[in-house]
């Protein structure tokens, strides 16, 4: 296993599968071949990703599964991939989320199944590529490549205003990337011109530690941060998100949640290690914006009538949590953020799917248009309950662990913000329960009979799509340590590279460590 280029396989298996899917022979509206090909490719990817995740020993700090090959050696651009605690979970999660997306869109392929599934696979491959790149240019290529399938999916299969939303999404997010590309070029130039005997390079590892003046560091950091902040999105830069989510096909949103997380991950991978001084100086501002995003997103979500818009704004709030954990520059917070990225993918992914399933049954996303659905579809209600309470951070489910660690970390370094952000948990309860109560509870209003609509409770296929996500929701809530242990070293390294060596919290830490040791021995 160690000899195989695992990461390359993970990237190119879906990409090649997607391309094949696009050019399958036979009638274009015949979905069978595309479905099974897509499912097969994504399941195979999933299998390999899980093997990689299991093979990633807890506590590993450096990158593993590294692959490096010269690509454009004149400019020092190489094909450099690697997995470590920062990205291994996200890579696995991308692979986990794709089969449910394909299964859920089994019958909703917009009349062009090959295009749909092919684009989904291309999206998966490019996301994994962006997550595993350790070379700036390679990363940038994948980063931009993610936009293309997403743009096409929205503009081809989207809702009524798909053209507007797709264009807005594309232009907004790529506008940020341009500055990032400039910053990359500047950085590489600075590296090769200032370091003695330095060859030109875009390799992340070479560029870390480049001598930069304070002003340079800040500007470059801001250029990177802008791109990531738009993608994440951080509070005032979010206006593409509700439109894009609203117009995109619902099943695609499962993967779209991964797309935005590449932005969060990139802060940890690139912006912070490359410009530690600037990061340290500017993080409070970003943390404040993330906090605003939590509260603001929550309040706006609470005022929405459309399920998807509500969930889109709730994503803004969730991503605010993720951002806060990162910007707090605390190892706990970073670990919490990494876990919360997984959680958000799983919970919001499930919620998007469920919203789609409800809409397939009642014909609208308007939460005031129906009520009392719990009576008719108990299984649907059960899955909705689990996903909804996971999303609002119910202790015992996955969202709680992530949010708790994020806020814990932030509480140490950004106390005021953490206190404000904690109220985001309350707001989350308000808007999630509003969604749940309006649709599931209350007087039953039967929609008019319509042959277009799905009838009956969840089908086996729909359960198959949701099942893995629900399983993860419970698993991460009850037993998150396999995940946390894999991110621990990377989170610590990332943070300690930025902050000065942290002084011991109090003398009590010694006692706490001793206790931890006892606890571990007891576990064994």
């Amino acid at each position: 296993m160690s000899g195989l280029p695992i990461l390359s396989i993970l990237i190119f298996l879906p990409i090649v599968g997607g391309i094949i899917c696009l050019f399958l022979p036979g009638r274009t509206d015949d979905p069978a071949a595309a479905r099974w090909l897509g499912l097969g490719a994504s399941l195979l990817t999933l299998l390999i990703a899980l093997l990689a995740l299991i093979g990633f020993a807890p506590g590993t700090s450096g990158p593993v599964l590294e692959e490096q090959a010269p690509w454009i050696p004149q400019f020092g651009i190489s094909y450099h991939l690697g997995a470590d605690g920062l990205n291994i979970l996200l890579i696995a999660l991308t692979a986990i989320l794709t089969p449910p997306a394909i299964i859920a869109s089994w019958t909703a392929l917009g009349g062009r199944p090959r295009l749909f599934i092919g684009l989904l696979l291309l999206l998966e491959g490019s996301i994994i590529g962006a997550l595993s790149s350790l070379d700036l240019i390679l990363y940038f290529v994948f980063w931009e490549a993610m936009l293309i399938p997403m743009y096409l999916l929205i503009s081809t299969f989207g809702g009524a205003r798909r053209g507007y939303a797709a264009l807005k999404f594309f232009i907004y997010t790529s506008a940020g990337s341009l500055l990032m590309l400039l910053a990359m070029l500047y950085l590489s130039y600075a590296h090769s011109s200032r370091e003695a005997s330095a060859a030109p390079s875009f390799d992340l590892r070479d560029l870390i530690g480049t001598q930069l003046s304070v002003a340079e560091g800040r500007w470059l950091f801001l250029a990177f941060a802008l791109a990531f902040a738009i993608k994440l999105p951080i509070f005032p830069l979010h206006s593409w998100l509700p439109d894009a989510y609203k117009q995109a096909p619902v099943t695609v949103l499962v993967l779209a949640t991964m797309l935005v997380k590449v932005g969060a991950y990139s802060f940890l991978r690139f912006a912070i290690p490359l410009f530690p001084d600037a990061a340290r100086d500017l993080m409070p501002i970003l943390a404040a914006l993330a906090t605003v995003g939590i509260i603001y997103g929550g309040l706006v979500a609470a005022a929405q009538r459309d399920m998807i818009r509500l969930l889109a704004y709730s994503s803004l709030a969730h991503l605010g949590f993720i951002g806060l954990g990162i910007f707090a520059l605390d190892a706990r917070g970073v670990q919490g953020s990494l876990l919360q990225m997984v959680n958000h993918g799983v919970s919001s992914g499930a919620l998007f799917l469920i919203a789609g399933m409800i809409a397939a049954r009642v014909g609208t996303f308007d939460i005031d248009a129906h009520g009392g659905l719990a009576r008719r579809w108990p299984v649907l209600t059960g899955t909705f309950v689990l996903a909804a309470f996971s999303s609002l951070g119910l202790p015992g489910l996955n969202g709680f662990v992530g949010e708790f660690l994020i806020l814990l970390g932030a509480f140490r370094t950004q106390r005021v913000l953490a206190c404000i952000a904690t109220f985001g948990v309350l707001i989350a309860a308000i808007y999630v329960l509003r969604l749940f109560r309006r649709t599931m509870f209350g007087r039953e209003r039967r929609p008019e009979a319509n042959a277009q609509l799905v009838s009956g409770d969840l089908s086996g296929r729909e359960i198959a799509a949701l099942g893995p996500l629900l399983l993860l929701i419970v698993w991460i809530g009850v037993y998150p340590s396999p995940f946390l242990r894999r991110t621990e070293a990377a989170a610590r390294d990332t943070v300690s590279a930025v902050t000065a060596p942290a002084p011991a919290t109090t003398a009590l830490t010694v006692g706490a460590t001793a206790l931890t040791a006892t606890a571990e021995s007891a576990t064994r």
């Binding site: 603001y296 009392g372 709680f400 509480f411 509870f441 340590s481 009590l508 206790l515």
Partner: protein
């Protein structure tokens, strides 16, 4: 000791079986599975108790760790159980009373067409969450139980989700509890930052190593959670609404589980609270206020379950008062007896409601004494217990609290008088509901469902079956004798049992208030007399001279209305919290979002306008382009001419 995990496992298994496999089971099986799971857990709880008591006193606190739950860099929370007399006592109460209520629910829910599986699954889950809460060995795990209880209460209160008020009540309960969770979370963060750990052992052992201000902050934040969970002012508004759930749920929430969590937390974290006198004072006053507040509102409520809900609030106020004046064991003692008599009252009320087809309005009851005799007896016993009439259990526990409020170093006369007065009011309003339900002429309409042949009584009332009678009998006995474990100057069983809790960590001197002596008995007799007066007044007003009651209500219409509307607290919160929040959300999503969107689209619009202007240059005529090329060439050469050469 390790057997304690079985206590968790049995109800969890019950939940899992009902939730996942239940669809293929017959309707009756759900309740039986859930009840058997509870019985098993209850049995194991006794074994755990025996194990614990076999240890020497100073070793009666065990930290059992199952696995490492949330290990992060420099932070660790385990999944483990903290076993000491306090948690084991609560374990017994929860599983025991829980079991009885489950048993009762089999009968109560028997005629429900749908939702039985859901009901019993969530009922078990509720118990699981409560057990996690009780057994947790660290604050983070405590929060899991804390939130889990909130969730289960949400699911159960909304059992009749198709009723708008039930759905609203469930959401309200959960949201207010989440507000408490927020306070808890902040408190836990502060604990971690201060002590470097969140497990009880480290925190309590090092409790003194922090500044008083910090500890006060921690305890106040934890208190927010306790207030929300226990329905104390100002976070009490969810509690009466929660009556929208089926009656066994109300019994479970109010007697054995949920609401006692707040008291449990205060007592569990007593080493911290001991170090924060300011917080204790706050708790005492809030508790006393809530006790009086709930009792006053209870005076005029017309829904039998709401009366009981406000009595719960009021009784929990007593427990908070006890904790606030440092009488932790008194708080727990009252928690114990309250679990018995409140469960009894609710179940008796449940029998009544069940009997007359779901009617809960006191104005539409009456004359049921002979119709459902067992309910009459049970409600009467429960009422006497809550009213503090000797030798019923409430007498001992409540007087312990009143005594502490008067005599403790942290108590004072005002607190004591409030507690004393509230006792009288309690007796009055509980017996008001008792008399309205069981005496005078029947005012209920017969024939809401249920066939006569089924029950063979010919009066159209549903008579409780055996599975409903047994719980009433058991709880009646307990409501009578439950208080006898602690009789001042005679029996010290309870105090001795709890002593190890307050002997750990050893750095503290446990605040022991050995009640007794002349002062105690004077207060106790006074309280009992006051209770008797309350009962008598209720009898006079509602049985002998019913017209007078209505007359009084009319004469003091303002007060009556204020009380009936619960001092308008709901309306107040609606005005100052709910509406502004909603308005903010609307404003943000309307004005702000549109503004941001406008900025973004405005940028795009500018670019487009600029390009529309610029494209005029593109005439399409080849010769124009050629001319421009020539112009460019001329300029270029001019540049070379004037600079380069």
């Amino acid at each position: 000791m390790g057997l304690v995990w079985l206590c968790l496992l049995f109800p969890l298994a019950g939940f899992a079986i009902n939730a996942l496999l239940g669809r293929s089971l017959p309707r009756r099986a759900h309740g039986i599975i859930a009840t058997v799971a509870m019985l098993a857990a209850f049995a194991v709880a006794w074994i755990v108790l025996a194990d614990l008591l076999s240890l020497p006193h100073e070793e009666q606190h065990r930290n059992l760790i199952l696995y490492n739950w949330v290990p992060a860099d420099g932070f660790n929370a385990t999944f483990g159980a903290w076993l000491d007399p306090l948690s084991v006592l609560l374990l017994l109460i929860v599983t025991g009373v829980g079991f009885v209520i489950h048993l009762f629910a089999i009968g109560y829910m028997a005629e429900e067409e749908e939702g039985q599986r859901r009901f019993f699954a969530y009922l078990n889950l509720f118990v699981v969450a409560m057990l996690v809460l009780i057994l947790a060995n660290n604050f983070m795990l405590l929060l899991v139980g804390w939130g889990g209880v909130g969730f289960a209460s949400f699911a159960l209160i909304s059992h009749y989700f198709f009723r708008e008020e039930a759905a609203d009540a469930a959401v309200k309960a959960f949201v207010i509890n989440t507000l408490g969770d927020v306070g808890m979370m902040l408190g836990i963060f502060l604990i971690w930052v201060t002590y470097g750990a969140v497990d009880y052992e480290t925190v309590f052992r090092n409790a003194g190593n922090a500044q008083t201000g910090t500890i006060t902050a921690i305890t106040l934040l934890l208190l927010v959670g306790a207030l929300a969970k226990s329905g104390q002012v100002p976070l009490h508004t969810w509690l009466p609404d929660a009556m929208a759930g089926p009656t066994p749920v109300s019994a479970l929430i109010h007697a054995a589980t949920m609401v006692t969590a707040g008291v449990y937390l205060l007592v569990r974290a007593w080493p911290l609270y001991e170090l924060a006198p300011a917080t204790l004072t706050t708790i005492a006053w809030l508790g006393a206020f809530t006790a009086l507040f709930g009792a006053l509102i209870g005076l005029v409520q017309t829904n039998i379950k709401r009366v009981l809900a406000f009595s719960t609030m009021s009784q929990l106020g007593y427990m908070f008062l006890a904790a606030g004046v440092g009488a932790y064991s008194a708080a727990i003692f009252h928690l114990l007896t309250h679990a018995f008599f409140k469960a009894l009252l609710f179940l008796a009320a449940g029998v009544v409601i069940h009997a007359i087809g779901g009617e809960e309005d006191l104005r539409r009851m009456g004359g049921l004494r002979d119709k459902v005799r067992i309910a009459w007896v049970a409600y009467g016993i429960g009422g006497l217990a809550i009213a503090g009439i000797p030798p019923f259990s409430g007498f001992f526990s409540k007087d312990e609290i009143i005594y502490s409020a008067f005599t403790s170093t942290r108590g004072n006369v005002v607190l004591g008088l409030i507690a004393l007065l509230t006792g009288g009011i309690t007796a009055f309003y509980v017996f008001r509901s008792f008399f309205l339900t069981f005496y005078r002429t029947p005012r209920y309409g017969i024939g809401h469902g249920g066939t006569e042949a089924e029950h063979g009584h010919g009066d159209g009332l549903h008579q409780p079956g055996l599975e409903m009678r047994i719980p009433l009998i058991v709880l009646s006995v307990l409501a009578i004798v439950g208080g006898w474990v602690l009789i001042p100057d005679a029996v010290h069983l309870f105090e001795d049992y709890l002593e190890p809790v307050f002997a750990y960590p050893a750095a503290f001197n446990a605040p022991v208030h050995a009640a007794g002596g002349a002062t105690y008995w004077m207060i106790a007799i006074g309280a009992a007399l006051l209770g008797a007066v309350g009962i008598g007044a209720a009898y006079y007003l509602y049985v002998l001279r019913p017209a007078l009651a209505a007359d009084l209500a009319g004469r003091f219409a303002g007060i009556h209305r204020t009380l009936f509307n619960r001092f308008y607290v709901d309306q107040l919160y609606d005005t100052i919290f709910v509406r502004p929040t909603r308005a903010f959300g609307r404003a943000f999503s309307g004005v702000f979002e549109r503004g941001l969107n406008g900025l973004v689209n405005g940028a795009g619009y500018l670019v487009r306008e600029a390009s529309v202007t610029m494209r005029e240059v593109q005439t399409g005529y080849v010769r124009n382009y050629a001319l421009l090329i020539l112009g460019g060439t001329v300029l270029l050469i001019a540049y070379v001419l004037f600079t380069a050469v």
